[in-house]
Amino acid sequence: MIKKFIHQFASPKTYLKQVDRAYPYIFFTSLSIYLIAIFWGLFLTPEDFVQGHSYRIIYLHVPASFISQSLYLGMAFASAIFLIWKVKLSAYLVRSIAPIGAMTTFIALVSGSIWGIPTWGTWWAWDARIISTLILFIMYLGLISLHDSFTNNEKADKFLAILVLVGSVNIPIIKMSVEWWSTLHQSASITITQKPAIDPSMLYPLFASAIGFTGLVVCLVILSSKFHILDRERNKSWVKDYV
């Protein structure tokens, strides 16, 4: 029964209809929230006592870093659904999320490196958090290359799903790297169990920028998945009606 429900709900045609309807609302709401949050963070929050104004990079770096890991977890979830229930849409989503994940991980790495210059005195350190994030970036690129190197798409989807699940071991390593090893990268300032170590005047715009950036990334995933679905299903009659 669950299988039947998933197959009905997750048909590529139904998915495209739903996301086309939701896209403009998600896009304009997220863009507004993100622009307000960035303005708030860059111009209205007070200067940090220790880091000076360089801490304002937090409003650009942290959302990208958070999303780069969340997207991988999303890929792992979709991979599991594909391997268990053979849902085609899940396989398409795994391939669609990978380039967006690579882009957000790239932003996280570059923004972190630039932030490192005024705060650490170096743009790069062989630090556990930075290395595990670099591995995540290489994994995203590797997964894209692997999928595109196959001529048989069904085989490629299966291999990709298995590799994504194997690679998901890196996500808890990234998360816990600052706790398990002595790292130059600071430990988490916001946790579920403890009171945030950031002043509310700096914390609220951070939450807002994370929400706005997440929404924009969701829009990118929608566009990427739309492209991959149309490409893979191009011989189906419904695609000709759709375009």
């Binding site: 860059l42 200067e47 000076g52 630039i114 005024p118 375009v243």
Partner: protein, 57 residues
């Protein structure tokens, strides 16, 4: 909470911190990279979808 942290536009661009260093170059570089990457990715996918739709038609 909603007071401007800078008294002029040039101060906001330079972002001179209490230790005398100008942090604007770092903050604005990251700003350009993030917004550049987002805009570029949106444009790339919009174009990809448009070109593919033309081919399918």
């Amino acid at each position: 909470m909603f007071n401007f942290a800078f008294s002029s536009m040039s101060e906001a661009i330079l972002m001179e911190s209490q230790n005398g260093q100008n942090h604007g170059i770092y903050v604005w570089s990251v700003f350009l990279i993030v917004f550049g990457a987002l805009i570029l990715t949106f444009i790339i996918y919009k174009n990809k979808i448009r070109n593919l739709s033309k081919k399918i038609k």
